[in-house]
Symmetry: C2
Subunit: 160 residues, 2 copies
Amino acid sequence: MDKTDISKAQTRVKDDAEPVLLGELENYVGFHLRLAQSASFKAFRRLTGESSLRPGWFAVLAIIHHNPGITPMALSRASGRDKSTITPVLRELLHEELVRRSTNPADKRSYALFLTPAGEEKLAHLAACAAEHDRELDEIVGDKKQEMIRLLRRIVAVLD
Amino acid sequence: MDKTDISKAQTRVKDDAEPVLLGELENYVGFHLRLAQSASFKAFRRLTGESSLRPGWFAVLAIIHHNPGITPMALSRASGRDKSTITPVLRELLHEELVRRSTNPADKRSYALFLTPAGEEKLAHLAACAAEHDRELDEIVGDKKQEMIRLLRRIVAVLD
DNA sequence: TATTGTTATACTCTATAACTATA
DNA sequence: TATAGTTATAGAGTATAACAATA
C-alpha cells in the first residue's frame, strides 16, 4: 500500500498525473464537513458577490428581524459568537443604517436592536441569495434534506 | 422611501427568556453546515488541544504521508488552498523536522516532500485524535454516515 | 461582585500580487 | 512566456482580557 520504506529514503518526485490519495481522511465526516462548508460558503459569496454583502451580516440581520428588540448579548449567544465579535458587526450595520437601537429604560447597560426599512430590504436581498443558494444545495441533497439538517443539528447539539 | 410608521415604531427590549427565532435560516442546509463545521472543528481542537497541533497540519501531513514525493503545488491543489497558503505551513513543518524535502533534478524550481519519522509519529497522534473525534461523530450520525459523506462530497463536487 | 457592551490586541486561515529562479 | 515557490500584505473571522457604566 504505502510506498514508505525506511531502509532507503525516497527522493523521487511524485508524478503530478497520479491521483492524490487522502487515506483515512476519505472516511471522516469532519473532513468532508470542512470541505463542504468551504464550498458552500464560496458559492454563497459568488451569489452575493458585488453587493459587498458580508455573509456574516446575514445571520445577524435575520436574527434581529425575527427577534425585534433583541440585545447584543442575546444576539451573540444566538449566533454562537463572542460579544466582542458582535460589536464591530453592529457598528457597521448601525453606520449603514440597516439597524437601529433604542435604549432600555430597565437596564441602561444594554439596548434593543431593530432593523430599519433599509435593513429589511437588505435582508430580503440576502434572503433571496440564500434561497437561490439553498436551491442549489437542495438539488444536491434532494429528498435527503431533512435527514441532513437533522444530522447537522445533532452534531452541533452534541459537540458544541 | 420612509416606510416607518413612527407612531408604531418598536422600542421594547425582547425578553431574554423568550427563545430566539431563526426564521428561514432554520431550513437552510448551508446555515447548519456552517454551525456543524464550527462545532466539529472546536471539538477536534479540544482533543488535540495541549499538544499545540494545528488542525491545518493534519491534512498536510496526511496528504504527504499518502503521496510521498508530492510537490508543494500538487499539495496546494489537493488541499484546495492557494500555494501561498501552503508555504508558511511547510516552513513550520520543515523547521520542526516533521517534513523533509529533496530537490528534483528534473525541475529545479520544485522539490519533493516526505514525512520524517517524527512526522509519521506526529501524524499517528493526530490520526488517533481524528479517529476519536470521528467516533464521536459516528455516534451522532449512526448508520447514516455513508449517506452523509456521499452528500457532503456531492456538495463539494457541484459547488466548488 | 457580576454583567453589558466597548476597546485593544492578537491569532488563524485565507487570498492577491509582485518577485525569483527556473522552464 | 509560463510555471514553482516565496514574500509582503491584507482582510475576514474569531477570541481573550481589561475597562467603564450599570445592576
